[in-house]
Amino acid sequence: MGLDGIIILDNNGRPIIQSGFRSSTTVYPLLHIDAVNNALEKAERPADVDPVLYIPNTTDVSSACCHVQAGDLRFLCPVSGDVDPLLAFAFLQTFIDILREYLGTVSAATLRDNFDIVYQLFEETLDVGGHPLTTYPNALRDIVIPPSLMNKLLSVTGTNFNSTINSGFGAGAAAGPFSSPIPWRKTGVRYNNNEIYFDIVEHLKAIVNKNGVTLSSNVHGKIEANAKLSGTPDCSLSFTNPQVLYDCALHPCIRLLRWNRDKVLSFVPPDGRFTLMDYTYSSQSPNSPLPTSPNVALPFVIKPNIELEDSGGSFDVTLTSRYSTHALENVVAELHLGQGAGGIRCSVSRGSGGGGFINAAESRNSGSSGGSNRASWSFDAQRMILRWEIQIVPPSSSWSLHGSFVTANRAPRPSHAIRVCFDISSHTYSALKVGQLKVTNAKENYKPYKGVRGRSSGEVEWRW
C-alpha cells in the first residue's frame, strides 16, 4: 500500500534509474515499465495515453501505474492497493521539481551524470513503506549535497567539504540537518546582498467560438519568489487590490490566519526559489461566485477563413492585436490539418496597422529587419500541425497567413480550432499590485533589495 517507488525511463522506454522496490517482487517494476511502453506504442499520440494505467497483477493486490512526462524522460510511480492517484502525481511533481532544483535541467544526460545524487534523493524523499519523507528543498539540501562545480572538484580531489560540515565540524556545526525549527527553511543562511524578487505570472486560457464570442476565459496566476535573505527574515506582503485574487493555493510557509483575515501574505520564506501562491483572477464579488461570464478582454482578434473542399482546403487567417500599449511576443498559432495532410503552400504577410508605432518591443528588435521577416510558418509532418510563428506583434498591428493544403483522404479532417499561444512581458491581466513588502529580522538589520515584475502568457482556442 502506498507509493511503491519511482522508475525513470528515457525516451526509448528504457529504465535509467529506479528506486528500491524492496517490498515487492523483481517483476513488479518490469510489469509497470512494459505496461507504459505498450500503451505508448498503441496510442495515436503520446498525450493520449491514460496517465493512470491499471496493471493486472498475478499477486493478490492490483496496482496502477501513474506516469508523467518531463523533458525527454518519463517518470513512473507504481502504486499498489487503493491509493489516490493524485498522491502519486503530487509526489512525482514534487520530485521532479526537486531534481530540477538540484540538476538545473532534468534530462537523461544530467541524470546519468548525477545518478548517485538521484539515488540519495530517492532514499530521502520516499520511505520504503511508500510514504513521502522529506520534500522541502531546503531541508533536503542539508542531507543531499547538490552537485556544483565546487563539489565535483572536491570529489575529484578526494575531499568533501560539505560532508565534513554535515558530520558536525566547521561553520555549519550549529546548522546540521534537521536542526532548523522551521522545516522549509534552513538556518544559518547568509548573503552579502540581501534581495527578494517576486514575479507575478499570469496565464490566460480561453475558448472563442465560431462567431468570435468568448465561451470561456480563465486567468490563473502565481507569484514566484526568489529569496536571498540572511538569517530568519519575516516578510509580509500586501496588495493594493487583493480582491482580484480567488481560489488561492498557498505555500506552506504562509500564515493562513493572517491571509484569511487581512489578505496579507505573512511568511518566513524558504531560501531560494519557490512559488509563494497560486490564484485565479476573477472580478466578481464573492457573493455571486459564478465565473461564467468572460471578464478578460482577449489581446487579439482572429479572422479565420478556412475552406474545405474535396481532398484539400485553403485558408486565410488574419490576426490583429487589440492592445494599444503592449506587444504580443512569441505568438504561435497552430492548426492541426488532420491525417494525410500535406502539400502545403503558404505565405505570411504583415498587414496594416501599428506600423508607425514604436514601442519598447520594436525598438529592442530594431536590429533585425522589420516587416514580415519576423513571421514564419512551418509544418510538422509528424503531428500534422501547421505552425505560424510571429516573434513580435506590435500594438494594433495585423498579420495574415494565406495558403492551401491537400489531403490524401477525400474528406479533409482538420481540427476546427486554431490554438494560439503568446507571451506579454511587463503586463498582468488582473493588474495585481503589490502594496507593501515588509521584511523584518529580529537579529540582523539589513534593508533588502525588493523587486516585483509582472509577466503574462496565454493560450486561446479560436474555433472556426
Partner: protein
Amino acid sequence: MSVDYLNAITENASRLGMRIQESLSEHTREMNLSRTSASYFEADDKGKNIRKQLDSSSDREKLDAMKRLIALISKGRNVSEYFAQVVKNVASQNLEIRKLVYIYVLRYAEQEPDLALLSINTFQKDLNDSNPFIRAMALRVLSGIRVPMVGNIVVLAIKKCAADFSPYVRKVAALAIPKCYQLDDSHLPSLIETINKMLNDTSPLSIGSVAVAFEAVCPTRLDLIHQRYRRLCKLLVEVDEWGKVDLLHLLLRYARTMLPKPIINSDGEEVDQDIELLLSSVEPLLQSRNPAVILAAAQIFWYTGPPSVHGKVVRPLLRLLQTSKEVERVTLSYIRVLARTDPSLFSPYFVRFFMLLDDSRQVKAEKIKLLVSLINYENHQSIFRELIEHTADPNDEVVADCIAAIGKCAELIPEATQTCLSALTEMIKSNHDVVVSNAILVLKQLVQAQLSQKSNITSSTNGSRSALKIISSLAHRIDDIRHPQARACVIWLVGQYCASDQASSGIAGMAEWAPDVLRRTAKHFSTEDVLVKLQIITLAAKLLVLNSTEQTLALLNRYVFSLARYDLNYDVRDRARMLSSLLAGLTSVSLDYDDELTAAEERGGVVLRAEQVKVILFNGKVNVTNKDRSEPSNVIIGSSAIITGKPTLNDNMIPDWLEEGVESALRDSPDDALSAPVPVLSVSSADPLNNPSNMMVSDQNVGKPSPTVPNGRKWASNLDDFFNEEDTNEDDESSEEDEDEDGDGEEDGEEADAVEDSIEGHDEEEISSEDDSENGEEEHDPAQHNVLRS
C-alpha cells in the same frame, strides 16, 4: 556573531586548503576535472578493483567504489557479492560514503542476513549519534533489514527513537513501526503501546507518520484516538503536506465511526460540535497547493459534512484542473462522481468542462460525460452547441462519444429533442463516415424511444409523428447514406415503422416512401454490403406481409429474393431461403423461380398465415432502452477504482455512520482541563484488554457497547457488508453487461435479425424436423399452429 562566522570560515578554508593540497599531491595523475559521475555509469568495468578500493584506507577510493557499485545496481546488476566489504564501511566517518553504504545495505540485507547482522552493532551505536540525521538513518536501515532475528532490537530502537527530541527521528520511528509489524507480528502489543505514546506527539512533522503507523498496525483501535481527536483537529493546519493526507484519512474514518451523523430536518441541520470542529480545521486545507491534500480535505467535507457544506469543495477541485494534465484527468473523474450525487453544485461551472484541442482522449471522454450529467434547462443550449462542435473532432472515438451524448441530452431535456433531431439529421449529410453512422445509430435510438412512448400512451403524440417524419426523411435520402451500418440501420427502420393505416397515394397498408426504398436499394443489391443485403431482404419480406396483393411489390420481392438466393455470402442465402419459406403462404407469386415448377403441396412443411408472419417479422424484438452502465454507487472519491474502472480488492471504504455516535465526553481530554499529565498516561497507555477498570470507565461513559472491542467488530461487520455489497454490485454489473451486449448488437443494425433469427431459427428447426419425415403427417400441423398462436 559575524566574528565567529568569519573565524569559522577562515578555519574551514585553511582546513580545506590543506586537504586539497594533500589530495592534489596524492592524486595529481588522476586529476581530471571533466570527469563526472557519468563515467561510473558508462564504464563497464567488471569491478575487479572495487573490492580493493573498498578495503583501501582512502575515503576517496571508497567513495569511488561505492559510486561504482550503485551504478552497477542501477544497471540491474546483482552486486551482493561485495556485501562483506561494504558492511565494513558502515562506520565510515565520511557521511557521503555512509549514505551510499546505507543504500547498498538496505538493498541486499535480505539476501545476506548473516552479514547484515554483523553491521547491527554499528547501527545501534549510531542510534546515539549526536546528529539526528545519522540516528534516523540508522533506524531506517535497522528496520529495513528484514531479518526476523533482529525484531527485538528494532522494537527497542523504535521505542528509543519514538522519544527522540528531534521530530524527524520520531517521524522515522513511526514509519518503522509498520515494517517491524510486518516482519513479526508478535511485537504487536509493544508497538501499539509506542503508537499510543506517539499519538501525544505535538510536533506537526511526525504526527502524520504516526497516523500511517496507526492505520497499518491497529486500525481498529480507534478508541485510542478519542482523547486526542480534538487536539489532532487543531494540529491539522500545521502538519506537513504528506502528513495532512494521512491524518485526514484517519480523522475521516474516526468521524464516520465515532461521531453522530449530522441530522437534516426541515428546520435545518444539526451538526455535532466535534464534526464542526473537524470541518473548521479542515477548511483552510482547501487552500493547499498539494492536490492530494485538497482531495483528502474534500473527502472530509463530502463524507462527514452536512449537504450545506458540500459546496465548499467545488472551487478547490476546479482549481486542480489547472495544475497539470495528469491531475486534471484524475480530478475530472472525481468531479463526475460528485456531480452524480449533486449536479447542481457543478452545473454553474459547466464552461470549465469545454474541450480543448490538446486534451487527451480520456480527458475528453470525461468532459463529455460530465457535460451530459450537468445538463439542465438553463445550460442545455450551450452544452448542445459544444457537443455538436466536437463532432468535428479528428478522433473517431470522441466523435462517437459526442454524438451519443447528444442523444442522451435529448432524452434528459425533452424540450431539446427537436434541436437534437435536426442536428442529427444535419450530421447525416456529413461526408465523414463516423459522423454519419453514429448519428444514425443515435437517431434510431431516439426514434424508437419516441415510438415506444406512443405505444405506452396509446394516443399518437407529436413525438411519434415527428419520429415518423424523421424516418421518412431518412428514407428519402437513402441514396446519400453510404456507410453500410448506417444504411442497414435506415432500411431496418423503414421496414419496422412503415406500416400505416392512412390512405396514401402509394400502396395500401404502408407509408408511401417505404416501397421506394426497396426499389432503390434493390437496384444496387449486388454491390451492397452484406449487412445491407440482409436488411434489404428483410424489408422486402416486411413489405410483402403488409400488402401481399400488390403485384409490383411482389415482383420486386421476387427480384430481390432471386438475387439473394444466388448471393456469394451464405448468410444472405440462408436468410433469403428462410424468409421465402416463411412467406410461402402469402402470395400467389412464388418468390423462387425454381419453385414455380414445384407444386405448392409438394413443398411440405408449415404454411403460416399472414398475421403469424407479421408477428414474427415485426414483433421480433422489444424496444431496447440502452441503459447507462452505471458505476457502483459505493465508490468514493480518492479511490483509484474510479480512475482505472477496476475495483481494487482493498477498496478505500467509508464506514457507515454510527447513528448516534459515541458519547462525546469520551473525547474530553484531561489536557483540555489542564489536569496533571499523569492520569493521561495511565489511562491511555494501559492495555484495555488487561485493564478491566479502563473498560469499566468506557462502559459507563458510553452506556452502550464499549468502543474498544465492539468497534473492532463493527469494523469487521462493515467489511462483510462491504463485500456483500460488492458481490451484489458485481452481479448487477454483469447483468448490465449482458444488456449492454444486447445494446451493442442493436447498434450493429442487426438486432432485429438477431432476435428474429432466434425465433425463426426455432421455426426452422421444427420445419426441418418435419422435412425429415418427408411426407410429414398432417396432424402435426394444427399442433404447430397452436404453439405459434400461443
